[in-house]
Point group: C2
Chain length 153, copies 2
């Protein structure tokens, strides 16, 4: 790798903490969960909404649905993006996504809250950066951080 | 790696085509898009709903919201999981997720449709397997594939 390449790579890193991106996306695998919780529509919705509040997110819309013979899908649309969950109570498994943008909320806190509330004994988390669109790694302003932020509809 | 480990690894693979999982999750980076499309609530909603229909998904709920000064967030809840989008028209960028389960629908077709409709000149897709919970790699039945499937609420 040439010096130029190394400098270019360094310019993409922010103190070894990763790249500046528009969004942070946590893909959370909740295995070995409390199966009764995963099949209860009211519990799943309450836990997901509470997780959004716990992360200090601004809730815009909530949509949860139960399926036969089992399983719940739900979304919490937040001003900072979204939380989603799909449960397979028959396997004690739930797939949760927490997609956030801006510096205000802490998705990792919401993830830990969800792990505890669903009693996952074997969770895993993958963090994906979404929207790495500046090769100079300048910090990109996010709409939700703008002073003029408000929801239109 | 021991022979036992190799055999165990082989048992996890299905003909080199990957692992059996409960869900398939496409993380789609739509860069260099048509900016006017990304800031139009009606267009973004119509394209996402059409993508779900294009993939033969069963639409359960739709929720799209516009933010000031710009940007749209939207979710299409489907019986087979969900589609989501967050747009940054100021950067010509949209983050799209297509989370599906079952063998019926083809998320890659929906992804190609979205790339074309938003005019992305620099898209990328990452496929994540969600819910790999069987080490024997047996094919796990999905609720939506069950004959008795119906939505409860």
């Amino acid at each position: 790798m040439s010096l130029r390449d190394r400098l270019s790579l360094q310019s993409l890193l922010k103190g070894g903490c990763g790249l500046h991106a528009l969004g942070t996306h946590l893909l959370i695998e909740l295995r070995d969960c409390n199966r009764s919780a995963l099949k209860d529509l009211k519990i799943v919705e309450e836990v997901m909404v509470s997780a959004a509040r716990y992360a200090k997110a601004t809730i815009v819309d909530v949509s949860f649905h139960e399926f036969n013979p089992f399983g719940i899908s739900g979304m919490v649309v937040i001003a900072e993006s979204h939380l989603s969950i799909h449960t397979w109570p028959e396997y004690g498994y739930a797939a949760v996504d927490i997609f956030t943008c801006g510096d205000v909320i802490k998705p990792e806190d919401a993830a830990q809250y969800l792990i505890e509330r669903f009693g996952s004994r074997n969770p895993s988390i993958v963090e994906m950066k979404r929207g790495i669109i500046s090769c100079s790694n300048e910090k990109l302003p996010h709409k939700v951080c703008d002073v003029g932020f408000q929801m239109v509809s």
